[in-house]
Symmetry: D2
Subunit: 498 residues, 4 copies
């Protein structure tokens, strides 16, 4: 494996690779370990932090509109190099090209939002809070901040973080997933071409050693994290204990309620993409359909079964495929294990995606689209986040029962209702204990100018990711109260000696 | 003159030129009429309005982010074609290339602001204004709106208007100045390349005939105007009488107060550009310096006289020139007439810019930089807006006296104070009857994410131009109050027959 | 009639009555002219303006929180004196006590909103718009502003205006309706008790002579008007021509669409109050019900007819009455004339309220609740605003046809749809050319923290009344750009001689 | 001591006192333990939480304007009962009546801000985020939240928390300081009279046992804390580890820079109140004056020494006293110990307030106003927060040196500069690492409509206290994305069978 490309780090505007430790990077469609990624030592991470620290004073003082103009140029470059980025995503994550393009587009939307920095950073100004006393707020950058991101959106999730953090005047250290770092690194390099000063953006690849430096070094002022709930909880607790601001996004179990009055063809069509797109490896994947009444349930299962016949799983570079492999062999085993456990615990495997045959990719980590009916709240497959192309159907008698299921689950990321009825939709969105709610929208990921965040154990922290909350997260409020004592300069008498 | 290029109109995405009437377009540096511009008939303007009307329904329904993306692309194109635009400005307006570049940049900043449309168009949402009643506001586009713009900023002033109007979902008819229409038209054509659907942006050249159609046709919902106060007043009254929304920006007489504690070198340096840049043909030109105390006045006149020696007036394509000709021979005569009248009424012409010799451009409309001392409030040169490279110095004993002068003037566009003293600055900005105030900033043109507007007879209308007020001007508020009656769909009992 | 109470003016904190001309004030339930109101001469109005002008400088400089505290106290007083206010409304307007209490409550809500002045008046602050340059906006009061208000809401409509105008730092001249001025004056007097300095709030009674002073005196900076469309148009044009800011609210013709899926009992119940409450003398009265499909129409007419049997018309002081007389004998004649014209033009008078007998009030100006079916768009009763207790039913085949009717009407104040369907509601609210939209809410008057305003010929001006738009209307934007030259004070070297 | 009044808890609208454990409450002016306070057991606290939990669903669904009206009434009651509240503060805290009145007024300002709830809780609404897709945010209450507050502002600091928390729809558990709980309890009882439903506001007195229940019970969703930094850090870490939102405000060391150009009389006058008011027991007390240049330092010390001669320390009920005792004998010993240590470490005690004689209050916990010159950064009295009436003077050569001192201190709560120079003020406010900055304002406590928060180890958490950040802290964001599938109800064809 000695000829293999070793993926390094981006520090102070240069690609760096001095680390001893490496880890294999697989192509999940072929199952082959085609590349290696360097795993940053403590020193490497500290070097990145130092570069960021050095770049901070000048970057902080750069007018917001000039910082924004780097983002305008960055957007252009991302669009120009979209094909390369999508290919890199495909090779390491396995995502089909159209899906990678969608991911990238969602990332770019955050860059577009960041272009509005001068508007977003406005403070509030109050004249005469007392006689001749004014008061106003400024939102100043934090300093050096870090992001730790997961494998499933190597382009988008980092772009939830660094464009906004940077445009607010911070310097950034990104530690992307070590499973598919190439697209992330490629994107980060475009920032330099867009005119970003060296050191403002840095990428370190690594594992827990790197993470722990980011969580403990006192020069890091804030940490944004997206990943699983146990890790999110650890990151949040550790960062807070070390005096850092933190927002940590964790796992999910997203339910759709199918009401009896739903437009069923529309619902099935929407669910297809929401459940199986990106192999279900999305924190907003719709993995549970709760049908209200058996009539709705039967129709759903029948139409869904039919629709799933047209789905094809395969390699990223064939655009007609609907979704690709899961990320590792271990993950494939886990997903298939959950399907088996559901079967063992009494559910019905209506469409079975285990061990699919993908011609020419016999060693790939593929799982086919799977539909399970008769799932109940006590099954392992219901309790856990499967993170695979598996849609589970539950049957309840009333909408209230469906809502109770959702409210009882430990996660509260996204949810959706399919109905035509205004009152049902309003009651649902008001009372459901979930942060992101869709009404006939199965993947209610807020657009970039709103904010992303789940409730309950899906997010640790006060502020949601990106959008208005993102701006608030990456800045600290300073409040200034000003009074000028009466002035000889202004009063006429003083000019005799002026 | 039969070989001369005739400049037409941009209607529904095509250049059109069917009009009989034309008018000469001069190169003010040479004095030659090198081009002609078509003057739109009523039919031509109505054709443009029809095109806009037709394009409106689809454009209105295009998501704001997609409208914004046209502006992202438009910004790129403006930057790519900056040299051409600046050359066109220079040839017809006479502005030196660096000044034209500055103007263009200011225009682009409004495009950048427009890119934030999704953020800017957010309405306010209130849950439970009563039991289970929600209320929210939407800001909907007006329909077809028009802009009428002056010769002095052929690139910038139109861009105060149409990017924001368009991104808010309106369709636009622009009538630029007939003196220098080419850069405006060139810019408008870039919008098509940027992806704007045909008919959303239209440009008609013309004179009062065209203007009167825009003011009377009932399909035009709003008119933005920048020009002189008498015309602004006419436009505002007529548009309002015809049921249109209108904002009309007029003339100015911008004063700087020079306090005894001012950093005089800094003040002189700032005033130089603010008074003579663009030959003083700016509605924010700083044309009166009010010195508080003779000591300050003497120092100002002395240092300014010295500094003015290095100023050079000349043609647009020589970058070392500081400013160019004024727009017409008639305007040159008028500006020089005001200088002469000041002299006749008792002021001192310290530096005399009348009849300058510009080698090789003997027929150009040049006026040199002029400094007049001892100006008083009763002089004609003080009362009127000269709109030429003339700085007049007034001498007062106190800051209060200086402020009274400013507050008594009919205009209230911009003003400035030079001081180091926090109290003087705060008192000035609080009490001066002027809409845009500079503290040691002689041209306090608000950045694009704030709004531009004078007080008193410098602006007719409630809302200022561009920025947040611009968004409000180009949209109408709709308020929706919603309650859903209790629903059988939601309640369990109904599912028996669902 | 010489013993009759003559109602005067409130000027500079005192009740004043020097005017020669007076006009009778009727009790519309008895038909008797029990009081007279003074009609202000030019001098009287100018006296009020002078008082306001004098009070302005100190009031403008009073911190917003202190101005707000007058409103906090004013709210308490309004609540304490609610019974008196409602009685005064009843005696001169005829409104039943519960309806007057509702009006007062709506007025108080605007006072509550005004209590938030410190929040509402915040400007926007931008740090580093350029290197070391800051920019912010302040919203300064206009000076002396005026309100001209109609008879139908003598308490509420004035409170749409003056609490917000005053809390923003303006001084106010109110000219209420000369038909029912007592409650308005009583309310204004409470402001003094609440701690408002004399001269900040003034009330002049009068007719066109007074109005024309308010429209022409140059010390008046803005005029708010609510009344009929022809007068609104005159006020708007005149005020604008005289350099004043103006918002003028005019007439209405508010339609409800009854969809086939509507909850008909709920709709009928809602329409009852919306059509007949306050005798239909509301600019938001729901006067046209457009039923989609004959089935819905038949059900509507049948249920409405039944429900109307329980309505009782009578004097204000009997709480069991549903609504009272109309304002004058002439208005009674006009309303009944429209009913007759509908009959003559082919409509069916289902419930006929003409010439009702009200025991003990035989000379009162009563019209009973009237239901007319089969109304078409060409009937006089459809074209005009009747302003009486008359509900007209139109029958159409499709929702699109119903919407077209509404969009074709010259007014665009309020409208409503009754449906359970989310899509129908959303399509309606998006595309209807009306400023205030209800979804199953028949009187979609926005709550005080949103803004009130119709479209088309229902409102002249850019900004709606009260709420956020009201704040913007009563303030002018000032934008300050600030840079401090480098300072010897800060740099160490200078301290040798400090 | 068996006859002594035992202060209980307010739970579910009733005063409750079943606890076995109690603690003495002293009158610090007399040194006598005149009352006892109950210390809540785990069961007592859980009872309060249960009451709050039960009250939550109805309170959450109460429209914001109705919740706000409780606050309007609460404000009236606080003003009516101000004397009683101030007396209770005086008896247990020792604060002079005028100082207590100031504290109460500051608390009331937060109630006034809370009255604006309908405005403050508005979400953002975006139309057409995609074709026919809308998106909006709602800010929903958290549930049951807790506040833990210090002895030094028994009225104000609780009112930083509960009015806003409650008006946002939460239910509240307050644990005030056990040293002076009576005014806090009295205030809380007024809420019931103001119309607050039982259970929405609860007060439990207690010590660590009570606190630990609040930090661990999973029904508590958020904790606000104000106190010392070590406790703040513990509270923050524990609350976070238990899945709660937390903001914890800690200690301070607030410096004023005295520039050579300062108006020294003004500065001394301001410092007098800022340093010694409330015996220096304020987290915003100005305890260090850093004079730039010896000339400024000498003038400061001389004028301050002179001014301090007029200060009198004594009991709360004599209005001519300037400040009262410190809170306990132990605290008196600690404060005097710091003075002694400064002396021992080389500073000069210019005015010595140790062991003052207060006639008739020989056992009171008094410390007189103390001025220490020549303090350096290594002295114990500089490093620690003394929390007593002690002003320390430091001497530096440049402003930069002064700023470095401040930036190096572990706390970053408040700071101030005295200067007339605009540039110095701007540089200072921009670059100082402190959250609340005064320019010629020594106690830059933000007004209630801005937010309160220090930087560095003065505050743990992302969001500041009260004001806009307070609203964000007490609510969670929910984002709803809505699309309605095309509807048979709207389309004409469907009406055949309607």
């Amino acid at each position: 494996m000695n000829e293999v490309n070793v993926i390094g780090h981006l520090i102070n505007g240069e690609m760096v690779n001095d680390d001893v430790r490496t880890q294999a990077v697989f192509n999940p469609a072929t199952g082959a370990a085609e590349k290696k990624v360097a795993l940053a030592s403590k020193q490497t991470v500290e070097q990145a932090i130092s570069a960021a620290q050095t770049a901070f004073p000048a970057w902080r003082n750069t007018p917001a509109i000039k910082r924004a103009r780097v983002m305008f140029r960055f957007k252009e470059l991302l669009e120009q190099h979209a094909d390369t980025i999508c290919r890199l995503i495909g090779e390491e994550h396995g995502k089909i090209s159209h899906d990678a393009a969608g991911e990238l587009q969602r990332g770019i939307e955050n860059v577009e939002y960041a272009c509005g920095a001068p508007e977003l950073l406005k403070g509030e100004h109050s004249k005469n809070v007392g006689p001749n006393i004014d008061c106003w707020s400024e939102f100043q950058p934090l300093g050096v901040v870090a992001g730790i991101t997961p494998f499933n959106f190597p382009a988008m999730v980092p772009m939830w973080m660094f464009p906004l953090a940077i445009v607010c005047g911070n310097c950034f250290i990104l530690k992307p997933s070590e499973r598919d770092p190439s697209s992330t690194l490629y994107i980060a390099q475009l920032l330099k071409e867009a005119g970003l000063p060296d050191g403002v953006m840095n990428v370190v690849n690594g594992d827990k050693e790197a993470v722990d430096v980011l969580l403990s070094d006192e020069r890091i002022k804030a940490v944004s994290f997206v990943g699983s709930t146990p890790i999110a909880e650890y990151i949040y607790a550790t960062a807070n204990a070390n005096g850092k601001r933190c927002q940590a996004l964790g796992g999910a179990k997203n339910h759709a309620i199918i009401m009896p009055d739903a437009d069923m063809d529309n619902a099935v069509n929407q669910l297809l993409g929401a459940a199986f797109g990106s192999s279900g490896e999305r924190c907003m994947a719709l993995s549970v359909a709760v049908a209200v009444g058996d009539e709705a349930a039967d129709a759903l299962v029948e139409k869904m079964t039919e629709a799933m016949k047209n789905l094809s799983v395969g390699a990223h570079d064939k655009a007609s495929n609907d979704f690709g492999p899961v990320i590792t062999q271990a993950h494939k085993d886990k997903v298939e294990g959950y399907i088996t456990s559901a079967q063992n615990q009494g559910a019905t495997i209506v469409v079975d995606g285990r061990q699919p045959h993908v011609e020419g990719y016999e060693n790939g980590f593929f799982v086919g689209a799977t539909l399970i009916d008769g799932v109940t709240a006590d099954m392992d497959s219901y309790v856990a986040e499967i993170f695979g192309p598996v849609l589970q159907v539950m049957r309840v008698k009333t909408m209230q029962e469906a809502m109770q299921l959702i409210n009882d689950h430990e996660y509260g990321n996204g949810t959706c209702i399919f109905t035509r009825d205004g009152e049902a939709a309003r009651y649902f969105s008001d009372n459901i204990q979930v942060g992101m709610v869709g009404i006939n929208v199965p993947l209610p990921v807020p657009v970039a100018y709103h904010s992303f965040g789940g409730w309950k154990r899906s997010l640790f922290g006060d502020l949601h990711a990106y959008g208005p909350d993102g701006v608030r997260f990456y800045t600290k409020r300073k409040t200034i109260t000003q009074r000028w004592p009466s002035s000889g300069v202004r009063e006429g008498a003083s000019f005799a000696f002026a």
